[in-house]
Symmetry: C3
């Protein structure tokens, strides 16, 4: 299987999406000049070129791409070649309306935007295969080609008739018999027993709540149907170029695709990252995406396929990146394992829906601040490349467990609290680790966890038997486990386990009876000894041999456990406020033998070790001094650092032990 290193060849890839079809061909030379000035060594082309390749059904217009690939190659710029299948040309919808997806209300998603493809349409798939085949045949041997990029940000749901038929086939594969499906979905409730496969639909608009297992399976199916699209194109290009790695770009921390299942099928794991520059925890959000993507890449290098050099254009108010922030966040990604730092897009568009999304070359052009900062980043990445590329992050000994099935099942209608957002809960726990200066990994609950010193479960509402046994085995094997509330509630079919929580987990944590869940209102806090909880609380009766670490104080739950512990298994029945969660978790981690990459880190300074290097990243604006015992060299400046280093606003040093 080809690797990312087959594309990077010892360098950090630097570049971005390049859509030259938007520009007159005479501008290409200028683009290449600026790319070289900026140290760009990789561009992604073809993402939205289907109508250019195939302006009428069956036509092929590749001449422009021939010229472009040659030009790039002549200038030493590699090409990540995309299949253009995320946005079919208008003629596809016009001639084959069944290729257009429909939403749960039956509304057609018309062309005129992007990603308007019905994933299970046979016509769409055959057209997508044909254009992929021809691209692979023509460019598979081109020396500029370094990587295949399939489709773009797979995210299109479809409730239409052809999707319904595919959903039924998927269900037949999963359940075999209607009886099994009826059992799994609990259709005895609300008179939903199916007597015929043809009666099964995607969860379309209903009078009142849809069947939750139907909704869950529809999310599983959608992820799988999109993965089928990926694999079909992957197989085509891999047949032509078995040595060229293949990827697709994930949307960051995105519900629509099962990230674990997809990553297993990719040569390279890639992600798009768009923190809000105004988010005071934007750096932590970035770190989370980095950690998750690296973990999907089994700890090895991965690629930032897209980020923004300045503002995006899809928020309500889209803020630019203040001076230095682009550099800081780019180097943060490298620190956390990225071997590619790429942007959407090279040159900011003048037309179309994304013309206010920034580019490496903004509307202000070469003289603009944006491009000046891009050039500096390119130069610094070149300095680091030799020491960084293809190395691994060190010391990420804590696993945060995440499972899309649990995420999907927990976000249904008809649950106890709409305030409990899975993503926010996971982020709260990752933030606590980040504030405790601990480098986190992510893992699936059925992964082998034995290498981790600490396993954190922010919330796994749904857990399979196998996953539960895995967790129990991990603790029995000496591991330390910390679990947040609403974990182990449901089985793989979203069937609530007797007692409201699996009995093995209750035994593990020392819970005799879970009497009631007490969700909290939006801004409500619950008092416990020493902290205040948010989002949730529980009326739990602890077992005899269990230590109530923190009881609730006052109110209906006075004296009931907020935090309880049985040996190395901890359970939190609420989410402590951030200022309480991180010290709690830091203490548990320390007991479990987990250490930060560097001691005595000032607030706002992030430290990560990758390979032989120590990255120090300053997310604040005031100058701070970081104690770094010993003698190091800063690869960015070439200067020596002895015992301490000073970091200004958004400052970064990359230290190598001095010889």
């Amino acid at each position: 299987m080809p690797q990312l290193s087959d594309a990077t060849r010892g360098r950090i890839l630097f570049g971005g999406d390049y859509n030259p079809e938007q520009w007159p061909e005479e501008l290409w030379q200028e683009d290449v000049r600026l790319m070289k000035e900026a140290g760009v060594n990789s561009v992604t082309v073809g993402v939205f070129s289907w109508a250019k390749f195939e302006p009428t059904p069956g036509a092929r217009e590749f001449g422009w791409l021939d010229r472009l690939m040659d030009l790039l190659h002549e200038n030493g710029i590699g090409v990540v070649l995309a299949t253009p299948t995320s946005s079919p040309p208008p003629w596809m919808g016009r001639l084959h309306p069944e290729t257009l997806p429909r939403d749960a209300d039956g509304r057609v998603e018309w062309w005129g935007g992007r990603q308007h493809f019905a994933h299970s349409s046979a016509v769409y798939r055959s057209h997508a295969a044909a254009i992929t085949e021809d691209l692979a045949a023509r460019y598979g041997g081109h020396p500029a080609l370094t990587m295949w990029h399939i489709n773009n940000e797979y995210c299109t749901y479809d409730w239409g008739d052809e999707a319904a038929a595919a959903f039924r086939r998927w269900l037949q594969d999963r359940y075999g018999t209607l009886d099994a499906l009826n059992t799994a979905w609990g259709t005895a409730f609300w008179s939903q027993g199916y007597d015929d496969w043809e009666g099964i639909l995607p969860p379309r608009h209903a009078h009142y709540m849809n069947n939750p297992t139907q909704v869950l399976d529809f999310k599983r199916f959608t992820s799988d149907a999109l993965l089928e699209c990926y694999l079909a194109e992957r197989d085509i290009v891999a047949r032509h170029t078995p040595h060229i790695p293949v990827t697709t770009n994930f949307m960051p921390f995105w519900q629509g695709q099962d990230g674990w299942a997809w990553a297993e099928r990719e040569d390279i794991v890639s992600v798009d990252i768009y923190p809000d520059p105004r988010d005071p925890l934007g750096a932590q959000y970035g770190a989370l995406i980095h950690d998750l993507t690296r973990s999907q890449a089994r700890g090895g290098p991965w690629t930032v396929m897209e980020q923004a050099a300045g503002p995006v254009n899809w928020r309500g108010v889209n803020h630019p990146k203040p001076r230095g922030l682009n550099r800081l966040w780019s180097l943060q990604a490298v620190a956390r394992g990225a071997d590619a730092v790429c942007y959407f897009q090279w040159r900011q568009s003048r037309q179309g829906a994304e013309k206010f999304h920034s580019g490496m070359v903004s509307h202000a052009g070469e003289r603009g601040r944006t491009f000046q900062e891009v050039k500096r980043i390119g130069a610094e990445l070149a300095l680091l490349s030799g020491k960084v590329a293809d190395t691994r992050v060190v010391g990420a000994d804590v696993a945060v467990l995440l499972d899309w099935n649990a995420w999907w099942a927990s976000q249904q209608d008809g649950r106890l609290s709409c305030e409990v957002d899975h993503q926010s809960v996971v982020r709260a726990w990752h933030r606590a680790l980040w504030e405790a200066d601990i480098t986190a990994s992510f893992a699936h609950p059925e992964h082998d966890l034995s290498a981790y010193k600490l396993v954190v479960v922010p919330q796994l509402y749904l857990l399979t038997d196998r996953a539960i046994d895995n967790l129990v085995g991990y603790v029995r094997g000496g591991g330390t486990l910390v679990s947040g509330f609403l974990t182990g509630v449901a089985d793989q079919d979203d069937r609530v386990r007797p007692g409201g929580m699996d009995e093995r987990l209750r035994a593990l944590f020392g819970i005799r009876t879970l009497h009631e869940w007490w969700p909290l209102d939006a801004d409500e806090k619950v008092e416990a000894e020493g902290f205040r909880g948010t989002l949730w609380s529980e009326e739990i009766e602890a077992a005899d041999d269990t230590y109530v670490v923190v009881p609730y104080k006052g109110g209906e739950l006075d004296g009931f456990p907020a935090v309880l512990r049985k040996g190395r298994a901890w359970y939190l029945s609420t989410l402590p406020e951030p200022e309480a969660l991180w010290p709690l978790l830091a203490g548990i981690a320390e007991d479990a033998g987990v250490r930060p990459p560097l001691d005595h880190l000032p607030a706002d300074v992030e430290a990560v070790r990758r390979g032989e290097l120590l990255f120090l990243l300053h997310h604040g604006r005031d100058t701070v001094t970081v104690p770094v015992p010993g003698r190091h060299r800063d690869l960015l400046t070439g200067e020596d650092v002895v015992d301490a280093v000073e970091l200004g606003r958004y400052g970064v040093v990359v230290l190598e032990a001095a010889p």
Copy 2:
């Protein structure tokens, strides 16, 4: 006509919806054991069993119900048998798409949820009749059968084509000629004159506001169409079992059905009650539902068909019931006339959309707090049964007037204020009576009111001539009438009466000219002498012989009447804040000879007299002492009470005069 007493036979019914088809049959024995432990004497079965009864079109699977009914009967548990017609099996929609309702936007309401039946579909109706017929034939003679429960929470609107045709037939019945319809609807405005019955539609999505009388008639029609469904099934079961009472369960205080018209056609009036445990006025909300349902039952006993033992699962955040609250609210319903205290549902589901809706046996099982409290309630109801069942509430001498037609007409687009919510206004007035310790009844404005000492009109925007004459006659006959604003504005066709308020009412209240309505913004208050008004104010010129009880103070309405009075007829042109409304109403009530059930009640203590008994219900958490002159016995504890009784948090005593 059979009565509730034919089902209760001297007991208070205690139990809930039982959906055994969700569980393996071996669990039924366990269920029955726990039911008996909890004093359950009635369960409702079959509500969502259509797909179980008729898994394929025309099939019949009754064996499981045969076994269940026998089992229940053997254990002394009566059965409320439901027709399963609220949720047709998936094959119905698949084979007969016209049985699926459509919303005003044309969206289909697909199966996969519940209540997805097009009420006017001939196919649906014939299938519903067939399954009802077979159920009645098979179980009409079963000794466990105590009551029929038709459908469930009728609430499905339909804007589709078959509903449109039925709407036209309904309109032909109502108006006879197109001319009459055009006149009633005021179609001369906006060029809406109909030249053909076929041109008339339900009020589907329009460019701008729909014709309001069309909307009003569509609501009337929908209530009637659903009632036709009810009556069709009622007639079938009544033919088989003329001695068994028939009911359907209302949603509480629900706009969709004309509660008066429906109640007249029911043997038993039943309601589902779901106050929010976090609502500080949840007890008052419960009392309102109790009073309304009792009044629909013509003052006699009625049934709580559903309530929740703990949380529901359809609010944003669903809170459990704190310890004692389930008992308190259950006994409150009995105090206010209920002869049945039932739950949705017996055993909390493990699957399906309502698995987080609590049950009498929660996920925590037998040991859980929920079931322990349920057992206590069952035991206490058994203690009360002999003294309470089939008795009537005493002293409910005040009638609050409510009419669905007025409600519907007042909630249209294009009115002066979206802040005036009919339900909230009615609740504000009921709350004032509740805070004044006055037991309220409800009545329709055309009812005979002569037995009431005081009649309160929170708001009857629409009043028929007959209703107006009834109110005028009531005051002429010596009654005291208090009316809130926006009353008597429109006639039965939502036609504004000359002067903006019917002239008979203006004469009754002493209003010369109603110059302008002055609605208030969301949080705006208007100052009057001695209180502040909310929601609304009016520029009224009082007639000469009228007493301005309270004038507005300052602002544009300075000096105009906020409260005026002509003899025993009072009119409030604003809604006083709660702390002002109840003393005002208490004073008027006292003058009218209305007395609370007990004097000197502490705040938070509710007193109701039913039959020979005095119920005292404490809705607060601090212990209070209630003076109760004389010697009584508390039926719950068997202890004597002399001159006073102490009530703890959520405490209840049921007192009988000591012999």
Copy 3:
């Protein structure tokens, strides 16, 4: 071309929409009596009479209108006769469903409301032409007829199939070739290249953002398609009555129609004005509509076709007009050039969707406050008529530039800030002029601006080359130009100009580089020397020869220009708070030789000169004294005013220099 003066004949028109078909014919006599009592000299009839004229397809029922026109004429009341084409009868939709519009989601807009016509439906257009022809033929010669009123508040968008076909034809006219369209729309982005005209659709619901130029062109097309409807009917009536002026009533400051393009095709410019009586800046809003409409009428007289005598019924909470406000705002319109003061509607409806919209005769009738105030206004207008009618506003030397194309293009999805609302920005700048007591005009950026002393550009995101050259030429010719942010960004196709702002404009204002736009969050302020900015800020590098009038202070933009100036060209990169904008603008205006109509005006007093008269309008509630040097006569009271006049709450004087 006929003029407004052909209809007014030396008078101010006073009256309103009259819908006699809502009332029994015997009430018409009463209506006419009250009209005469109120000084009504003009009523608009027929607006919603199509179903009355043509109750079945092809029928004609004109007898009632014959009688009405005769009655009005006998009583000296002129008739503005409307074509009834905004609301087709129900039979039209029933027999021709393709005449019903569809929204972007595909939802039909059914009959039962109003304005449910598909503008490009051939069937609709032919029916509309036929009824217009017959009306013109029958009433063209009637002596009561003074004006034609085509349709009503054109505002219906349509995304349906027939509109799609018309859109394609419009695009073929605009672009000629598909290549030109593909270039203009930038379809190279997102694979949107069209290979066939048939592939082009209105911007229907898409998976993600629609192509912005497609959206822009669809707005242009919709305005043009509606204008075609107008012109088709206009041509018919003009053929019959070349001497009778034709108009249609605009919705105020409304995005749907290009007000400049429409006004050019109208004999008379008419507008409907509905300020919220609770809006503390309602008078300024009114003034803006007046100034805009007058400017559309090339500075000459215009008509208030609709206003409300009291509340409207389409806001959330609809407040009545306090005593005196109707008079104040009516006279304000006259001051700013109106020669007609009309209402929707004469008699408040008892039925239909607008029965809570006030009328000149309210539900309270003749005795009600509303009618009493209407009578006073009618009497006062009669006093003014001879001196006012057909005169022009004096001294409106400042042009505020407005262009619908810029408005449309700036309000797309995918822009940097959803907080920047074009209408609010324009209103902010007009408000500053209003607060500086400067009478404003409006102009299109391609108009001849040479007559203006000052030109203000609140925001013209899109500017054609011709418009840019016009602005540059204006400044070169000695004019003073002040521009707000986000001006000159895009060309006519919404293509961002290199540098993010046209280079001619950058040269004009002295901007070297526009590095980044920094939009502000909803309530965020940016500090500058001496004021705080709202909505927006920019990272601008000033050219050498440019004066940084106000720099930003602190934050990321510290020292960058907030306000810069090159000669007489000013640029503001933020929107100063209101208390800073008006003095800034007043200073610039004074330097440019612009003077208020009167010096030393108290706050809340508006002064406008029209013809020989000086109007003073007091928008406050406390009595103020206004210095007015010299001797004048107040036309309303006939009293002399020497050197000063006192104005009470909502007071108005109309002063003529004493001889």
